[in-house]
Amino acid sequence: MTEFWLFIIAAAIAVLFAVLMLLNENAVHSALSLIVTMVSISFLFLLLDAPFLAMIQITVYAGAIMVLFLFVIMLLGAEKSESPDMPGPGTTKFRWFTGAAVGLTFALLASIGLSIINSQVDSREIPIADPQVRVGHFAPDVGAVDVYAGETQVADDLLFGETTSFVSLPAGENTLRVVPVDGGAELSTTVTLEGGSVQTVLAYGVDAVEFAVIPQDFSTVTEDRTSRVMVFNANPNVTVRMVDMGSELVADDTRDLIAGVPYGQVSDVTLLEEDTVQWTFVDDAQPDNILYRLRDYELERDTMQLVVFTPEREFDGSLRDNVYPLASETAPSFGGPRAIGYALFTTYMLPFQLLALLLLAAMVGVIVLTHRETEKVGAKVGGRRRVSRPLVNVIAAQTGTDVTEDGAPEGSPTAGD
């Protein structure tokens, strides 16, 4: 309800000052009324989840364009242009076809209003986006693989520890196939995908390769400077717990971050602050048994971290635990500068550059239009540059003698011998 009343107040101010702008005799007053209208429109942008636009509106429109208007109004003395002593047909501030124009614009208002009401804008359904999937290769005994989603190839020669990029698949049932490059059995799984979801499918398992479908939440992280962290356990022998060992100088400084995660399961989402973290993975049953230490990992803000704890086949054939954090950025907040920047520098790069060229052309055009020829300062007289105080006069004034005569002046100072 508060938002509704804020909207009503801002809208009323905007319309009121727009009407004042139209009816005012003084051009400066009109410009100031328009500035108030623009500030209230900026407030309406804030109500519309568009903070970047609100700032741009104040900075560019109210702060630059309207100031330029005021400069030109002052320069031309235009605030007096409606005075009665100006010759012209009639002294009213409106033109001769006032009646017809007002009638036609009210007809325009009625027609647009009816079309807005009839179009039922608010009841349109927003289409749900296609689900997105990526596949991660965490099976230690399988070599490089090719990944197929349905019929299309998603990844080529995917090594252990790597994941494909996100692919959009149609909602419903989809078959993902993982085909080893060197031959060997093809592994496939069928996943049921809902619209609008983002999933990671991990192929894991030492003896038999299984698939885990992990839904991930990539919506905007609302807390400040935090990230979402999930841990997936691909080690069949232990239930893993992630702790922060803290300082080595202080005993009992261990902090549990993520509680016991059984084999093949993913933990709940935990929010952790951005930091350079030292994560330690221990056996849940015997907390003194340290399985892996992830040192100096840069945990950034606004990311979704899926930390995969998996055994890896070493060169000598033994299995050793390793940790692969899969970090992806979450969605930037709607209408904020980061979201606008992403779109502006990827999809809309060409219009952005064209507008820059347009602005450059406009600046050049303005300078050309307003340039006028003036008398050059320092015109030449008789072939020599005319100066205000010739050097000869300056020297004569300082030495007290007339330097223009031939020969050295009397009493010239010797150079300190």
Partner: protein
Amino acid sequence: MVATEAYLMLSMVLFVLGTMGVLLRRNAILVFMSVELMLNATNLALAAFARQWGQEGGHLFVFFIITVAAAEVAVGLALIVAIFRSKRSINIDELHQMEG
């Protein structure tokens, strides 16, 4: 959340006010300011739709419109200044002949 229709109605009212200003005022600078009011009205409508559909394309289009409006205002005011220097008047009823 306030209905998109409400924002569209407001945008329409401001647009019509701008239209009346363009048609009715004699001062060339006032006409120009009414054009700016119309552009602001369309910016409002675009931002309302962007919020409804959850796409940032609407915001980007508003950004482009603001940029183009800035360029247009600069050039238009330069033209008005140049005309004023020769005609000593910015009453558009006196400027309708392309002589001089």
